[in-house]
Amino acid sequence: MELTLWTYEGPPHVGAMRIAASMEGVHYVLHAPQGDTYADLLFTMIERRDRRPPVTYTTFQARDLGGDTAELVKRSIAEAVERFQPQALLVGESCTAELIQDQPGALAQGMGYGDLPIVNLELPAYSKKENWGAGETFYQLVRGLLKGQIPAPGSPRPDPGRWRSEGRRPRLNLLGPSLLGFRCRDDVTEVTRLLASVGVDVAVVAPLGATPADLLRLPEADANVCLYPEVADATCSWLDRQFGMACLRTVPIGIGATVAFLNEVVELLGLDPARLPQPDRSRLPWYSRSVDSTYLTGKRVFIFADATHAIAAARIASQELGFEVVGLGSYSREQARAVRAAAAELGLEALISDDYLAVEAAMAAAAPELVLGTQMERHSAKRLGVPCAVISSPLHVQDVPARYAPQMGWEGANVIFDSWVHPLMMGLEEHLIGMFRHDFEFVDGHMSHRGETAASAPEAPVSGVWTADGEAELKKVPFFVRGKVRRNAETYANERGIGAITAEVMFDAKAHFSR
């Protein structure tokens, strides 16, 4: 038993939902009580999805437990198949259903759906979490669909350079992008452009936007790109083992990693190295060398994120922006080893934890000038008064921007430069503020780039006089509208020659202005 106040990851079935909701033509029947339907809002609110995730919940109740919950499961499956006509069906249970052991997956398989691929998801809710659930679901789905195509043991591994003899362009699969992942939508676009720049096509992107039929085509690519190891690691390893498909594991976030990624692509596919683009495709190298950035030198930065983004951020911060990384960690236990190695390279000990209070304490102890983290760290940093940029899930709706804002490739590096440096005071500005700080005109609110502290608006001059009960009532108005309510009440009192602003006057004014 473990006390949790806020959690980085949801339960594993939410990971499964991420896979189902990312794809087309997949439906997920989830044996779960009604409250678990909250998970829909993660997709419809945070990702602003225009449709519900393709999930049918059985929403069993206590009174069903005495009777036949298995019947309820079957009824839900039958209705879902009938209504949604999926090309593949995922069947699983949430934490509570796991305890009552109805075996919904087995029930589904016994319902005689013939050709419909059914994946029985067993995701242990009491020991695993969301990212693991996403990775496992993607793997089970790919395995379930492709198991009929596995080459005989001992078959030779396909040559990643075979595109040449087959007289076509080389092609790669992009595996791992999913809903509720960080900037996946735009990363796919950027990596597709990046590959096109060296003459490589994208075969299948999955799970984001893929259909079950697309997954059947995975082995037709020359190799896989494991874009997000949290989601795609198990699948890529399995495709490597069973289909002999090579896997590119460098995640192209940052200039160095993008260059390394392209080198790997070129080498693996046997392309002409002369085609490699120069890193000056991105503005980051020049911006980082430009004189204003001198002020970034040695800025203390604390990094905590999922493993993929934490490792990438540490490298960019230390090598490409000249920051000093003073803390590095991740909540992804599954990828802890890689994070530890990255930290060791920087002479740090990685913090592997899903206790955000421990992370906040480590953050405070490291005394950073910038925090790169998740939504959780954004809140912690705010409390500590340290500027923060969000670099990883878990997300808030504001981390799903309308504009094109990838993290990967050349444009991703531009986006990273802007979004990490903007929360800091810009170089010359910092210098000038230091110089003029003691002048009488100086107002703290001028430090507009620092953190999110807004200058408080000046109070309007007092006209009518507030009585004690009026003041008391005013205090109960939420602070962010209090100024307006106060001004309205005073205007109202002024116009009517009312001297004392009582609670009644305030309510009268409120009613008056609500017109």
Binding site: L5, A39, F60, E360, K510
Partner: protein, 410 residues
């Protein structure tokens, strides 16, 4: 009135969600859910923002070891509670909140509360209730929490009015002022603002429910000799007026005096509603089941804002508590109880209402289909009770329509 009873997939929160407003009401109480990561994630997602470093609620997440043996689970719970209270010395009442997993494995939280109470006597009171999704829907969590408090209320014979159900503090203050003007008193509240200041109850107590979802609390109070005053709920001008009038009549106040106090409020409230009525009049409304406040909202939006009611869904229809509201709905109103989500959405699509009141999971998908929506969760998080808030309440529904009318992309 005909009621369409449906069963199938429900799209509603479980009772744990009530913690989000209950914990704000009682700043000296902690709500400890004994459950799973799902429960923790639900509260986090429903609460929206993680403003507090250490909120006064949390989840004791069951692990595989707890499932292996209840003895261990109990020992673990005791350890966790001890640590928690050591860290939070200001806590006076600890609510142990049951969840689906704790109920399915039959972890006896009543026994745990008893055991902890013995140990913590004089320092912290431990109370338990269920907020599980297999037992409770959304607002029923508050009903269960208050029901658990009823046996702890001291006995008291004095003639008094008891307001039952969480109100925003500002609204409650306003109500207290008005009761004083009416000459009704003393007035006490359940839940109180300090968890240790539990109101006494007894045969002299007349209870007025602030919310329509407190059926089990109402019955527990009746068992303590409390008289329940049936009234419409204080939403909108009319509901608020009748609610106050009911209390005043029960306390033998001269109706002329009551009218003198309430009339100006009513006039002002109506004036505040009027501009929104212009927006809402004749518009067709579909309420999906969520908080059990749907009949009261439908009554307000129909009678005071002129909306047409396409369907009024409610997760559960407590006939006794809802009768005063049902009496005010137009004859033939399509009421539905329970939910079969897909069938209900088919009805929504077929009816093409002008406004749908629904949960956050459904709002954007319906908007994308071209149907305006209002999040129901705002109705339990915002101060909407009383004549003074009637304008604000109407505005909540008018805003989506006004916004749609004001947007143009061509």
């Amino acid at each position: 009135m005909e009621v369409l009873k449906e069963s199938g997939q429900r799209e509603v929160f479980c009772g744990l969600t009530s913690i989000v407003w209950l914990h704000r009401r009682m700043p000296d109480a902690f709500f400890l859910v004994v459950g799973s990561r799902t429960c923790a994630h639900l509260i986090q997602s429903a609460a929206g923002v993680m403003i507090f470093a250490e909120p006064r609620f949390g989840t004791a997440i069951l692990g595989e070891r707890d499932l292996a043996g209840l003895a261990d689970a109990n020992a673990e719970l005791d350890r966790l509670v001890t640590d928690l209270l050591a860290r939070r010395p200001e806590i006076r009442t600890l609510f142990l909140v049951g969840s689906c997993p704790s109920e399915v494995i039959k972890l006896d939280l009543a026994k745990a509360a008893e055991r902890l109470n013995e140990r913590l006597v004089g320092r912290v009171r431990v109370v338990n209730y269920s907020g599980s999704g297999i037992e409770t829907t959304f607002t029923q969590g508050e009903d269960q929490a208050l029901t658990a408090l009823v046996p702890l209320l001291p006995a008291g014979d004095q003639r008094q009015l008891l307001l039952v159900g969480t109100l925003a503090d500002a609204v409650e203050d306003r109500f207290l002022t008005l009761f004083e003007r009416l000459g009704v008193g003393p007035v006490l509240s359940l839940p109180p603002r300090r968890s240790t200041e539990l109101p006494p109850v007894g045969p002299g107590t007349q209870a007025l429910l602030c919310q329509p979802f407190l059926g089990s609390t109402a019955r527990a109070l009746q068992a303590r000799g409390v008289t329940l005053l049936p009234a419409p709920y204080p939403l909108g001008v009319e509901g608020s007026r009748r609610w106050f009038e009911t209390a005043a009549a029960a306390f033998g106040i001269d109706p002329a005096h009551t009218a003198a106090v309430l009339d100006p409020l009513v006039a002002r409230g109506q004036a505040a509603v009027a501009p929104h009525r212009r927006q809402l009049e004749g518009k067709r409304l579909f309420l999906l089941p969520d908080s059990q406040m749907e009949p009261a909202l439908a009554r307000f939006l129909h009678r005071e804002c002129g909306m047409e009611l396409v369907e009024v869904g409610t997760p559960y229809l407590d006939r006794t508590l809802q009768q005063p509201e049902l009496d005010l709905l137009p004859p033939g109103t399509a009421l539905s109880e329970g939910q079969h989500l897909e069938r209900q959405l088919e009805r929504v699509r077929a009816a093409r209402p002008d406004l749908v009141v629904c949960g956050m999971g459904l709002a954007n998908p319906l908007e994308a289909e071209g149907i305006a929506t209002k999040w129901s969760i705002e109705l339990v998080f915002s101060p909407i009770h009383g004549c003074d808030q009637a304008g604000d309440l109407a505005e909540l529904f008018a805003r989506p329509l006004r916004r749609r009318a004001s947007l143009a992309f061509a």
